[in-house]
């Protein structure tokens, strides 16, 4: 079919827990997306990833049909889990709130590689290290 895109929206949701409440309802309702169909499909495809934030990038077409792809969890979410902290630092230069190892950075970079603008693992690790620094997480 002649699929011309109307809009692109990314939802970052807890795996397996999509429901019509915000943010899903207002974000997709305004585009006329069948919300229950999205929620059912998202929950089915992410049920084995419970406890993680799994972004879904929706492409909504002119006739308001849609498709979506799942992305890797946000790097910040993985870094917080690896450092065992609740949130990043409010002033990352002055206050350090946690530490991760280079091995943690490598694992996160490996997972994130498909979604990063990086040509290889080394470049991906540099991006993840940058995110860690800006959250006040030290890399050992």
């Amino acid at each position: 079919m002649a699929k011309k895109v109307r809009a692109v929206v990314t939802l970052q949701l807890p795996a397996g827990k999509a429901n019509p409440a915000p943010p899903v309802g207002p974000a997709l309702g305004q585009h006329g997306v069948n919300i229950m169909e999205f929620c059912k499909e998202y929950n089915a495809r992410t049920q084995d990833k419970a406890g993680n934030i799994i972004p879904a990038q929706l492409t909504i077409f002119e006739d308001r049909s849609f498709t979506f792809i799942l992305k890797t969890p946000p790097a910040a979410d993985m870094l917080r889990k690896a450092a065992g902290i609740e949130k990043g630092s409010g002033s990352p230069r002055l206050t350090k709130v946690g530490k991760v190892s280079e091995d943690d950075i490598r694992k996160i970079a490996q997972t994130k590689l498909p979604d990063l603008n990086a040509n290889n693992l080394g470049e991906a690790m540099k991006i993840i290290e940058g995110t860690a620094r800006s959250m006040g997480i030290e890399v050992e």
């Binding site: 970052q12 019509p20 309702g29 069948n34 006739d63 800006s134």
Partner: protein, 297 residues
């Protein structure tokens, strides 16, 4: 009275999206939305992200004491990021599980096929057939010019005793219409396995599962079937790419109906089909879109 929510929008430079979205998620554990600015490209070409422009990160907080505290927490957590612009607007709670349906109604193409969503009670007129179809994960809700043009063409070409090929079936809407308009045997194909699965479900829900054979894949020269009618609602480039395959599968004196074509591309499409034995029979237009009906010599 409806409950009120606050939609909080952070306008964020691309380099800060990861950090800022993490801070926004802290106050909105149910999730957030991230909207990158995109250029919408042509049919089948998708979109392109404008990577150097601000990204919008949205969270929804209840209009309550807790919501006020969370909003204040969020404002404070944004202080290290002076380039981030934070705005808020109230929105009324709706029954979001069903409110999206307001965009959809009965699609009456003026011919015999009428598309009726499952939540609408609608009695079709004498001689009309109802296609029960809910919008969802596959293109072909009936709310697009290209689908409507195909339905109108089917109205005049469908008849008993022929076999039809539906290329790029999407939701299966055209296959369902074809069977309900009298074509006894339809083969449907789509490159997207999700679409093929949804088309199967929609055919079953319309009680025509046995008449339509659906598969996921690309139409190739060695496709085994031969058809009196082939209908392909895909795009200019994809239709041109399949010209030889159409030549192989459409029987002599059979009809080929091509849609998903922007009007300025029509001559190019006709020229690509002619070497494979097709001649232009008719053309139809709706807004920017064009349907080309060709006949095999």
């Amino acid at each position: 009275m409806s409950n009120l929510w606050f939609e909080i929008t952070a306008q964020v430079p691309p380099s800060l999206v990861e950090e800022v979205s993490d801070l926004v998620r802290v106050v909105a554990p149910g999730g957030i939305t991230v909207e990158e600015p995109v250029d919408i490209l042509g049919p089948e070409e998708g979109f392109r992200v404008r990577g150097d422009e601000p990204v919008l990160i949205r969270a929804y907080l209840p209009s309550s004491e807790l919501g006020a505290v969370l909003t204040e927490d969020l404002r404070r957590s944004m202080e290290p990021f002076p380039s981030v612009e934070l705005t808020a607007r109230p929105i009324f709670e709706q029954d979001w599980a069903v409110s999206w349906r307001e965009f959809f109604g009965v699609v009456d193409t003026g011919g015999r096929a009428v598309i009726v969503p499952s939540w609408i009670e609608h009695e079709v007129g004498p001689g009309q057939v109802a296609i029960r179809l809910d919008p969802g994960q596959a293109f072909g809700t009936g709310h697009h010019e290209t689908t409507r043009l195909c339905l109108a063409a089917l109205d005049s070409l469908a008849r008993a005793g022929i076999a039809m090929l539906d290329v790029g079936t999407g939701s299966g809407v055209l296959s369902i219409a074809a069977v309900k308009l009298g074509i006894p045997s339809v083969t449907a194909i789509d490159i997207d396995p999700v679409a093929a699965e949804i088309a199967r479900r929609n055919c079953d829900e319309n009680g025509i599962g046995a008449e339509v054979s659906i598969s996921a894949g690309v139409l190739t020269l060695d496709h085994p079937g031969r058809y009196e009618l082939a209908l392909s609602n895909i795009s200019t480039g994809a239709n041109i790419g399949l010209a030889a395959a159409f030549g192989a599968v459409v029987k002599p004196r059979g009809d080929l109906v091509l849609s998903g074509i922007l009007a300025p591309d029509s001559r190019r499409v006709v020229a690509a089909m002619e070497p494979h034995g097709f001649r232009l029979a008719a053309m139809a237009h709706e807004r920017d879109w064009c349907l080309i009906h060709l006949r095999k010599q």
